[in-house]
Symmetry: C2
């Protein structure tokens, strides 16, 4: 999930969507290989400003012990907004 | 993590912070009992608008298979913003 300056939101989202699925305004999810994960992080670091933006990655090695619940709006299949 | 209308951000954040720790603008984390988790969800549902806002809960039953990485700004101990 990211929290970045408005100027860089579109860029960060676009980059993340190359690898992950968009689930909420600033949240993406997906299966990613170790190599692609490293690549994504490097690419994000080139886009964001270290002193203004923040991007958090949660890595779950298995989904066996995790679950997700959404209250309110569900953003599914919003594939053509950007 | 939440994505709610500006009008309700402070309310949602305040409520979440009664149970969890704030890690990024719209992201909180923490250990929570099953009972408190239910309570939090009920309280959040009373605050948000189902057609405008979205709050996602990821539950990890163990942290053994998960990790977190932050790029950019780390929000730690921002205890007195609200």
């Amino acid at each position: 999930m990211y929290d970045v300056n408005q100027k860089r939101v579109a860029k960060v989202l676009k980059k993340c969507r190359q690898y992950l699925n968009w689930v909420q305004n600033s949240v993406l999810e997906g299966e990613i290989t170790e190599a692609n994960y490293k690549k994504l992080k490097m690419e994000i670091e080139r886009i964001i400003r270290q002193d203004e933006d923040s991007v958090i990655f949660y890595s779950l090695r298995t989904t066996k012990y995790s679950s997700r619940e959404i209250l309110g709006l569900k953003k599914c299949g919003d594939e053509n907004i950007i």
